[in-house]
């Protein structure tokens, strides 16, 4: 019996090596796995919180209208009522945070209007679209249209 055990002793050494490996593995897990892992699910909980905490770049039209009610009123009466301010004026959260120092820069009107209103076969029927060159003969859109209320049915003409 002891002979048999002696002849298998080297296998016990192998088992010991594996056991050591297992212990190292468990210790490593405890040390290295991020503490917030598993907080909300099988992922690093802090990642979700970090994602929520990112700063915003677009203030949102509610914020714009808070300081610019006159524009809001003009816009609400016209066909651009549902076009939000930052769609044309760009991201303005920085401006909303510090209106005195950070001033918005208006992008080129011609390029801006054309992006939505140049004619394209795939645009929905009834959506106002023009061939810019033919329509204005090269003149700037603002020559005839007031961007905040560009339609002509309700006194948008300059």
């Amino acid at each position: 019996m002891s002979g048999r055990f002696k002849d298998s002793a080297h296998l016990i050494r192998v088992a010991a090596v594996f056991l050591l490996g297992a212990v190292v593995f468990v210790a490593l897990r405890a040390a290295v796995i991020p503490k917030s892992f598993g907080q909300f699910g099988p992922y690093r909980g802090k990642a979700l919180l970090e994602m929520q905490a990112r700063p915003v770049k677009f203030a949102g039209h509610d914020v714009c209208e808070g300081c610019h009610p006159d524009v809001a009123e003009t816009k609400a009466k016209g066909v651009h009522a549902h076009v939000n301010c930052e769609t044309c004026h760009g991201a303005q959260a920085k401006h909303a945070d510090d209106p005195a120092t950070v001033k918005p820069v208006l992008p080129e009107v011609a390029k801006l209007c054309v992006r939505c209103h140049s004619e394209n076969i795939a645009k929905p029927n009834g959506f106002p679209q023009v061939n810019a060159a033919e329509h204005s003969g090269g003149q700037d859109c603002k020559t005839c249209h007031q961007p905040h209320s560009p339609g002509f049915g309700s006194g948008g003409k300059k």
């Binding site: 991020p34 892992f37 907080q39 909300f40 699910g41 099988p42 992922y43 690093r44 909980g45 990642a47 979700l48 919180l49 970090e50 994602m51 929520q52 905490a53 990112r54 700063p55 915003v56 770049k57 677009f58 949102g60 039209h61 651009h80 549902h82 076009v83 939000n84 930052e86 769609t87 760009g90 991201a91 054309v114 992006r115 939505c116 140049s118 004619e119 394209n120 076969i121 795939a122 645009k123 929905p124 959506f127 061939n131």
Partner: protein
């Protein structure tokens, strides 16, 4: 309940320890935001999309999306008559600067905005080997940029092509449904900047959300329904030729 002083002395430290435990488990979230009260989706109305690309530009600005990669994009479709399996599709630079005037007249022409579908049974989270991409309790699929190995298995597994490999972060990246905005009560950058209301964020758990009425009165589809991903991006007026 009548407690002896001895019992209180024993209970207090136990209660304190329990409270610390509860606090550790409670998310230190954006104030007033409880994940369990929301279930996010979006309505994409094909009948309203004008292919202006404002959403693509807004997303790129809000989320610092690198050039040439897209968290959202717009496709222009042309279906010739009854040839529903062979549409002609284009998406120049993802539609970021709109589309050139369409040359192919006739047939049916329309725009389709695309983005991450924030699937309930997303194949992307299924294949991630380490839990770097995950579902939040409010139905948003996110990527953990500090944990992702960059193996790109999730990019292969997404049927919609909405994921990409970020060129400088060297991790997977995709639309986050502007989680940093919606958890603060704002809408997503793409919805905020869509001039025609073709994109509208929807909170499916909110009974007052207009989407519920919309879903009752309109015909809606999701992309690749045969893959049963549980997509929460609902399309109104999606043509059968859309892939």
């Amino acid at each position: 309940m009548n407690l002896t002083r001895r019992q209180v002395l024993l209970l207090l430290p136990a209660a304190a320890a329990a409270w610390e435990f509860v606090k550790a488990g409670t998310p230190d979230q954006a104030p007033n935001y409880n994940m369990d009260e929301h279930w996010w989706g979006m309505l994409l109305d094909i009948t309203k999309c004008i292919g202006c690309g404002s959403c693509v530009r807004a997303c790129a600005t809000e989320n610092d999306v690198p050039d040439g990669y897209f968290r959202t994009w717009v496709e222009q479709y042309h279906r010739e008559d009854w040839h529903i399996e062979a549409p002609v599709v284009s998406s120049p630079d993802g539609g970021k600067n709109g589309f050139p005037p369409g040359k192919v007249a006739g047939g049916k022409n329309f725009f389709v905005p695309k983005m991450c579908n924030h699937c309930v049974d997303s194949p992307c989270t299924q294949v991630c080997p380490v839990g770097a991409t995950y579902h939040t309790a409010d139905g948003v699929v996110l990527v953990d940029y500090e944990y992702c190995l960059g193996c790109r298995y999730c990019i292969q597994a997404c049927p919609y092509g909405c994921r990409f490999f970020h060129p400088t972060k060297h991790t997977a990246d995709k639309c986050t449904l502007c989680y940093h905005r919606i958890s603060k009560g704002l809408t997503t950058a793409c919805c905020e900047n869509c001039p025609t209301g073709a994109r509208q964020l929807a909170d499916l758990k909110n009974p007052k959300d207009p989407i519920h009425e919309f879903l009752k009165t309109h015909t809606v589809q999701v992309l690749k329904p045969h893959l049963a991903t549980g997509s929460k991006m609902f399309y109104n007026g999606l043509d059968g030729s859309v892939r």
